[in-house]
């Protein structure tokens, strides 16, 4: 072990040091390069439509997408779709977390619980959940419930499997310490198992998020009356490329925003971890 006296090196170096002339470009190189490449791409897209190189019926264009989006928000038609999809997502994904995390802890900790449930989990985890859509539709109809079910089914398995792995890889020394101090099972989960499973648990939540979004879109395409997936499907059938693009962008933006949100949570729980690499 390092015999050095604990220092606050990290914190000290994080504070602004003596002003070294560092150009604006150098400080923001990463973000600037990304922005520039994006702008070049969008200009090229816009230009290729403006100069008639491609048919906007197939490719749409940034300006058309913005115009269509403004119209759709103005007449309120898209708000209903967003509400429906949002509701399906929140209920389905929320239920997957509320059930998946505790169940994963139980399966990871108690080998008997695992023995009973493992065959079902393995079989369903290996099945593309989208293949279950027809069954789910038969059972729950084309209303909200079937989409909630398919979102739930998509999200719960990655969450479950990651939580189980997280629990199984808990450091045995920490378990021993907790036992020695007289911890009961509940305290063991709260003070040892959960904190040490955080990285795997959150990567399960991230994976589950992706599956949940797929579930919404495919579920609504398959049979629905509202929602962003329904919007994309119907607009696509009518060659309304602009509308399709608006739907895709909204879903993608929601996905990025929620992934970032999970990253924030992770940073909050992992702030004790020494930084690795550069």
């Amino acid at each position: 072990m390092d015999a050095s006296i604990a220092t606050k090196e990290k914190r000290v170096s994080a504070e602004p040091g003596p002003v070294v002339a560092k150009s604006f470009w150098k400080r923001h190189e990463h973000a600037l390069l990304g922005t520039i490449s994006m702008l070049v791409f969008l200009s090229f897209w816009e230009a290729s439509v403006a100069f008639g190189w491609v048919n906007p019926l197939f490719t749409s264009s940034p300006s058309r997408i913005v115009r269509t989006a403004i119209e759709m928000f103005a007449d309120g038609s898209i708000l209903v779709d967003m509400q429906v999809s949002g509701y399906e997502f929140i209920v389905g994904y929320g239920a997957a977390i509320v059930i998946g995390v505790p169940l994963g802890i139980l399966m990871g900790w108690y080998s008997r619980v695992d023995a009973v449930l493992e065959p079902f989990v393995s079989a369903l985890y290996a099945t593309p959940r989208i293949a279950l859509l027809p069954l789910v539709m038969i059972w729950f109809g084309i209303g909200l419930m079937s989409k909630i079910a398919i979102v739930f089914l998509g999200a719960i398995f990655p969450i479950l499997v990651n939580t189980i792995t997280g629990v199984r890889t808990v450091n045995a020394d920490f378990v021993k310490v907790a036992r020695s101090f007289g911890s009961n099972d509940w305290q063991m989960f709260l003070t040892v198992v959960l904190p040490s499973s955080v990285p795997l648990l959150l990567s399960g939540l991230r994976l589950g998020l992706g599956h949940a979004l797929v579930g919404i879109v495919v579920g609504e395409m398959y049979g629905a009356t509202h929602g962003l997936g329904f919007l994309i499907a119907t607009a696509g059938a009518r060659f309304q490329t602009d509308k399709v693009m608006v739907g895709i962008i909204i879903i993608a933006a929601a996905g990025v925003a929620m992934t970032e949100f999970l990253r924030l949570i992770e940073r909050r729980f992992e702030r004790w971890r020494p930084s690795v690499g550069g």
């Binding site: 072990m1 390092d2 015999a3 050095s4 006296i5 604990a6 220092t7 606050k8 020394d173 920490f174 021993k176 310490v177 907790a178 036992r179 020695s180 101090f181 007289g182 911890s183 305290q187 003070t191 040892v192 904190p195 040490s196 729980f269 004790w272 971890r273 020494p274």
Partner: protein, 269 residues
């Protein structure tokens, strides 16, 4: 030790077999161990490597059930972990996601009998006692190995155990830090007035710290000998060079050597 002193810990004919889950065989680890630790005493256990010293300590802590015999603390049989004992673990067993003070309050948090402010107050006093004032809000990875073991000791003392168990607490430290920590531990225990049972593989450490040294035989471990360390109570590192110290050290080393030869761990030309 004075015969009038009250026995804090009574170990009576303890044997312990460990079941190897892979092979299904049970392996005798401890055989008929019998000794006592008196109030305020520091007893060290030494023995050949792998003889079962740590297993014995785990049994006293209640983490492992004994196969036969009994371990009595203040007259009550040990049947599992309890608030009357606390262990200072071998490795870096601090919770990395808890700050120093949160690690020290851990045992108290589990017990839940003190208000949070009281727990933190007690933890602060112990952090001062182990010489880490000013580091309460640091995370373990920001501390050196020696400092982390001080936190480990404070965490165990926080529950005010009747008996403190130390499982090779300095094994992972470098040689210098180790020597300093021995002096520190002696001071800390004198101030905390705790009875302690200490497992180490360093004979030198055992003689330096302990009032008595229990020498375990090779596996299955029994008691080879118990040696009283008649050295002044106030000890400094210079003592390690005194002839009486060296003589004790050599006497214990010969006992362990005999065990090693007997079991073939050490071959004699």
């Amino acid at each position: 030790m004075a015969a009038t002193a009250r026995a804090k810990l009574n170990v009576r004919g303890v044997s312990l077999d460990l079941l190897n889950e892979r092979t299904g065989r049970s392996l005798p680890v401890l055989h008929d161990i019998d000794f006592a630790v008196f109030e305020g005493e520091l007893v060290a256990i030494v023995g050949p490597s792998g003889c079962g010293k740590s297993t014995f300590l785990n049994a006293v802590d209640g983490l492992l059930p004994v196969t036969s015999g009994a371990i009595l603390l203040d007259g009550h049989a040990v049947e599992g972990p309890g608030p009357d004992r606390a262990m200072v673990f071998q490795h870096d067993s601090l919770f990395p996601w808890r700050t120093v003070i949160e690690n020290v309050t851990y045992g108290l948090d589990l017990q839940g009998r003190l208000a949070k402010a009281e727990r933190r107050e007690r933890a602060r006093a112990l952090i001062d006692l182990v010489g880490l004032s000013g580091f309460a809000e640091h995370y373990p990875h920001e501390l050196s190995g020696g400092m982390r073991q001080r936190v480990n000791i404070a965490r165990a003392l926080a529950v005010e155990p009747q008996l403190l168990l130390l499982d090779e607490p300095f094994a992972a430290l470098d040689a210098q830090t180790r020597e300093f920590m021995q002096v520190e531990l002696m001071k800390i225990l004198a101030r905390a007035r705790t009875t302690a049972l200490f497992v180490t593989h360093q004979i030198n450490e055992a003689v330096f710290l302990a009032d008595r040294v229990v020498v375990f035989s090779a596996r299955p471990a029994g008691i080879k000998d118990v040696i009283a360390v008649d050295l002044p109570g106030e000890r400094s590192l210079a003592l390690k060079h005194q002839p009486e110290f060296v003589a004790l050290e050599q006497r214990i080393w010969r006992l362990i050597e005999q065990e090693a030869e007997r079991t073939g761990m050490l071959t004699v030309a």
